[in-house]
Amino acid sequence: MSLSRLLERLLQLIPVLLGVSAIAFLMMALTPGDPVQIMIGDQSITPEQEAELRRGLGLDRPLLERFFIFLGNALQFDFGTSFYHRRPVSDVIAERLPATIELSLVALIVALVTAIPLGVLAAIRKNSILDRLATVGSLLGVSLPGFWFGILLIMLFAVHLQILPVSGRIGYSSEVSTITGFLLFDTLLHGDLPAFGDALRHILLPAITLGLPMTAILMRVTRTSMLEVLRQDYVTFADAKGLPRRRVLFRHALKNALIPTVSVAAIETGSLLGGNMIVEAVFGWPGLGRLVVESIFLRNYPLVQAAVLLYAVTYVLLNFIADILYTVLNPRVKL
């Protein structure tokens, strides 16, 4: 892909982001529910005190004025002050983001390392017991709701077997000073192996829960595309040449079969962010998803707007990466 093409794609981001900002702002502003009333809750308050509270949150201004203030500030990466945390939204989000990214990445790795071998095996041994088990398994994987599967894992591994913790990111005897914010990485950088193990024990169950639907999807994609590739003439030719079966499968077939898997994986990574909201709540994972859900219910406008914008940017970028990967893996396709 040429550099100018790349730049053009990046420039396309600008209208998308403007559109998303407008939608995020309007969706929040037009949703029924008054942030001030929610904040006051069950309390007697004078109209003057209520007006003062409204003024403090900047909600006394007309909608249009608020929108332009939001847009103007957002362009300077100022997303306002969280109604409840009373600190800049960007600070609050930055504290939570590494946990979410770390969990998503580990879930992605879990999905890739289980889905690809299983998908390939199922394709090679089509219609065998293994293939059928994998098919049923993947159907279950897509269908099992995360909140239920997560609780099931907790009951088994944390309550009955007591080998893994119920929730959290790391135990309280471990103290890790932040370098990157990714605990698995930071503990290794500090050379603190026990803390690394502790962090690993904490992330296992949430990552498996989060990665399960993706594993199922990727396995199906890999199996189907592997089957298709195995029917291709060049594979038959390679077999006819007398190449060892292993070499045919892994050198010739798999490389092409993985093209759809990789692009689906990149796009599905975006949906990991969405799935995070539930998994984070179940496992008490201190990530962004949980914060956003809480903020939506409290009509914490600034935080929700900034988070939606962040999700949108991530999703767009992941799609962009998927496109690039596709052209790299498959030189016949041009952007």
Partner: protein, 513 residues
């Protein structure tokens, strides 16, 4: 053995050793808690859970004992000089966590920060200003006495003061509002160790603690070295953490988990009477519930005892008026009997021999109970459909402060943390007040509530609220249902801790054996 299996074996062994659980230090008391604190600034927050955390770090002038009585904490004594003037003598020898002495100056500064417009810092007004009512000024009258003067009598000032904590003037001036959000310097039993946002708040014992309220034994430094608020929002996971022994206290134990927690060898259930009254608001501005007979029919249709017994697992107290049995001014009231036949007869008298069809709004969390209520109403001729809405949206629909409402019936509740009627009676029953979801308007009651709010003679005041309760008991703008208990799951290793109905989870006296 070739290289690959050997490598795999080595990795597996290494993983096993790394995955062994790390040793837990013995003295940590861990609370599985629903929500993280939003901020640690006592003047700059608006959530009950945030206050729960803050009150282990900061103390107030007054506090409440486990039986909800207001007792002195940082104040040594309180004297009411006149209906609008209160004097607080400040205890000496209290230290902040940074080692500096706390003075009357800090008390004045803390209260000004909440009550004076623009005084919180950066020209902002505290979002907690409304909780302090009509405070006119806070002055130091001699070295160690702080005087609060009100614009008008407000008898619930002592009941509201436990919600305000004392900060260090010097610390706030040095760190600003922004610093106060994430740092702390209180006089409470614990100081902030580490705040892992969204995950846990780790507090350490403050060894120079003055001891806390003398009326709440034991007095002295906290029992445990560290307490940790571990954030687990999902209730099933919170219960699992308790059963697994990961935590020692969990809040908001769901009623359906009570049996499981009791059956488990190492855990138990503790309850305390709550402060939130549940009711059905009937839209008196609507077409059917403007008739007293229809409202009475609804009240007779519901078997409260059955719902309390079967759905709430016995963890609620039934009410016949708005006040909780523990609230000031509450009294024995005429009970509305469960009598579906009488309900049908009342409907017929009101001109609805074939019954009526209505919709009941409620939040998702109360769906089970709402369905049970709906089936009882339907059984008595009030065919009820339950409509689940989101809290924010229902608030806008039902708390209209006098503006016309569109619904029929609203299954909801109102909290009364101060346990004073002023906080619950006035907003839910005064004409056009913000919580008056029934759209009830009774000038005689309005006057009575206004007078009671400023009546200084407690005996007379209690009598006025009884009169008000009898009025609403007769007019039935709401079907008054019950006050649920707050339910906690606790480890049997825990001792010295009692749940409290106000926002506090007071960990000062809690020990782990």
């Amino acid at each position: 053995m070739n290289a690959l299996p050997r490598l795999l074996l080595a990795t597996a062994l290494a993983t096993c050793s790394v995955l062994m659980p790390a040793a837990v230090s013995a003295e940590d008391l861990i609370v599985g808690f629903t929500l993280d604190a939003d901020t640690l600034d006592p003047a700059n927050h608006r959530k009950r859970e945030t206050e729960t955390v803050i009150r282990n770090i900061y103390d107030g002038l007054l506090t409440r004992d486990p039986d909800m009585r207001v007792v002195p904490e940082i104040a040594e004594s309180m004297v009411q000089v006149s209906p609008t003037v209160y004097d607080f003598k400040i205890r000496s020898g209290i230290k902040f966590h940074d080692g500096t002495d706390m003075t009357a100056e800090d008390v004045k500064f803390s209260l000004d920060r909440v009550t004076v417009e623009g005084a919180m810092g950066d020209g902002q007004t505290s979002p907690r200003q409304g909780l302090m009512g009509p405070v006119a000024s806070v002055e130091i009258v001699d070295g160690d006495t702080v005087r609060i003067t009100l614009k008008e009598p407000w008898p619930i000032l002592p009941a509201m003061l436990p919600n305000q904590q004392i900060v260090s003037k010097a610390f706030v001036e040095a760190n600003g509002t922004a610093g106060m959000a994430t740092m702390s310097n209180g006089t409470g039993p614990f100081k902030l160790g580490e705040w892992r946002k969204g995950d846990a708040i780790i507090l350490q014992r403050f060894d120079d603690y003055y001891g806390g309220a003398p009326d709440i034994a034991p007095v002295g430094a906290a029992c445990v070295d560290r307490v940790i608020f571990k954030i687990i929002p999902e209730s099933a996971s919170r219960v699992a953490a308790l059963l697994a022994g990961d935590v020692h206290i969990i809040n908001e134990l769901p009623t359906f988990s009570i049996a499981q927690v009791k059956a488990n060898a190492g855990t138990d259930v503790m309850t305390v009477n709550g402060t939130r009254s549940f009711f059905l608001a009937m839209n008196m501005q609507g077409e059917v519930f403007d008739d007293l007979k229809v409202r009475q029919a609804a009240a007779h249709a519901i078997d409260k005892d059955l719902i309390i017994d079967r759905i709430l697992d016995g963890t609620a107290a039934r009410i016949e008026g708005i006040l909780s049995p523990d609230a000031f001014g509450s009294s024995e009231l005429p009970a509305v009997s469960y009598d579906p036949e009488k309900a049908k007869a009342l409907l017929a008298e009101a001109g609805y021999p074939d019954g009526i069809s209505i919709t009941m709004d409620t939040e998702g969390a109360f769906k089970d109970t709402a369905e049970a209520i709906a089936s009882m109403l339907t059984n008595a001729g009030i065919r009820t459909t339950v409509a689940i809405g989101e809290s924010a949206q229902l608030t806008e629909k039902w708390r209209t402060a006098g503006k016309p409402k569109s619904g029929d019936m609203y299954f909801s509740s109102w909290g009364n943390g101060s346990l004073d009627p002023f906080d619950i009676f006035t907003p839910t029953h005064k004409t056009n007040d913000r919580g008056n979801s029934a759209g009830y308007a009774n000038p005689a009651l309005d006057k009575l509530l206004d007078d009671a709010a400023v009546e200084m003679d407690t005996g007379k005041r209690a009598e006025m609220y009884r009169e008000a309760e009898l009025m609403i008991n007769a007019d039935q703008p709401y079907v008054y249902l019950w006050v649920p208990q707050d339910i906690y799951g606790v480890s049997k290793k825990l001792s010295g801790w009692k749940p409290s109905a106000d926002s506090r989870i007071n960990l000062h006296d809690a020990c782990i054996n």
